[in-house]
């Protein structure tokens, strides 16, 4: 499979999945606010966005196995940067919550923070071609 085809397939999956994830998250929040569902049902329904989230990581995994080694190197650096940022925020803010009464940060935000950090990092690491042709 060519890099272009792999990228198209990846984006063709990840963009709708992101929209579905955000939509499912808002639907859960709305259902909770309106007390439409009992807590056990909310637990059950929360499987939907979790499943979407896992499918996004699966699509990313597949993409990384399909592209060439240099593009994979960029993806690995982007994913690792996202991991560093998420772990730093989780631990750093956790200490502040424990010892400095910092406002509570929901761990829900770690997933969006990861994807944002990963995306910015990939853009940062993607080389600007110096010598054309």
């Amino acid at each position: 499979m060519t890099n272009e085809k792999a990228t198209r397939r990846y984006l063709g999956f990840i963009i709708p999945a992101t929209i579905l994830f955000v939509g499912a998250s808002f639907a859960l929040k709305t259902a909770d606010n309106a007390a439409m569902l009992p807590p056990p049902a909310l637990y059950a329904v929360s499987i939907v966005p979790v499943g979407i989230m896992l499918s996004m990581f699966w699509a990313h995994w597949r993409y990384m196995t399909e592209i060439d080694e240099f593009l994979r190197f960029i993806q690995v650096k982007g994913a690792f940067t996202g991991l560093i940022i998420v772990m730093t925020i989780a631990s750093g803010w956790g200490w502040l919550e424990f010892y400095a009464d910092a406002p509570r940060l929901s761990i829900f935000w770690l997933n969006p923070i990861y994807w944002i950090a990963y995306s910015v990092a990939v853009l940062w690491f993607t080389p600007r071609d110096r010598a054309a042709t």
């Binding site: 060519t2 890099n3 592209i67 060439d68 080694e69 240099f70 593009l71 190197f73 993607t126 080389p127 071609d129 110096r130 010598a131 054309a132 042709t133």
Partner: protein, 66 residues
């Protein structure tokens, strides 16, 4: 690692895109290897040498040769 990809490519009149297509990699990859920003794996380095029809030492120089 230094390399002579640009020179070898120029001698054959190939653009980066042409070489990338022959190697089945992206043009960004060829550019990164050519400009020394990325060292290819051994299998890719051998493929590059074979495409040019020269020994691998004629393409890449790790600066540690005799």
């Amino acid at each position: 690692m230094k390399n002579k990809i640009k020179q070898l490519r120029g001698e054959r009149g190939w653009s980066q895109a042409v070489l990338a297509e022959k190697l089945d990699v992206s043009r960004q990859s060829v550019n990164a290897i050519e400009t020394g920003r990325y060292d290819p794996s051994l299998p890719l380095a051998f493929r590059i040498a074979r495409i040019f029809g020269v020994p691998i030492e004629a393409v890449f120089d790790d600066g540690d040769g005799a």
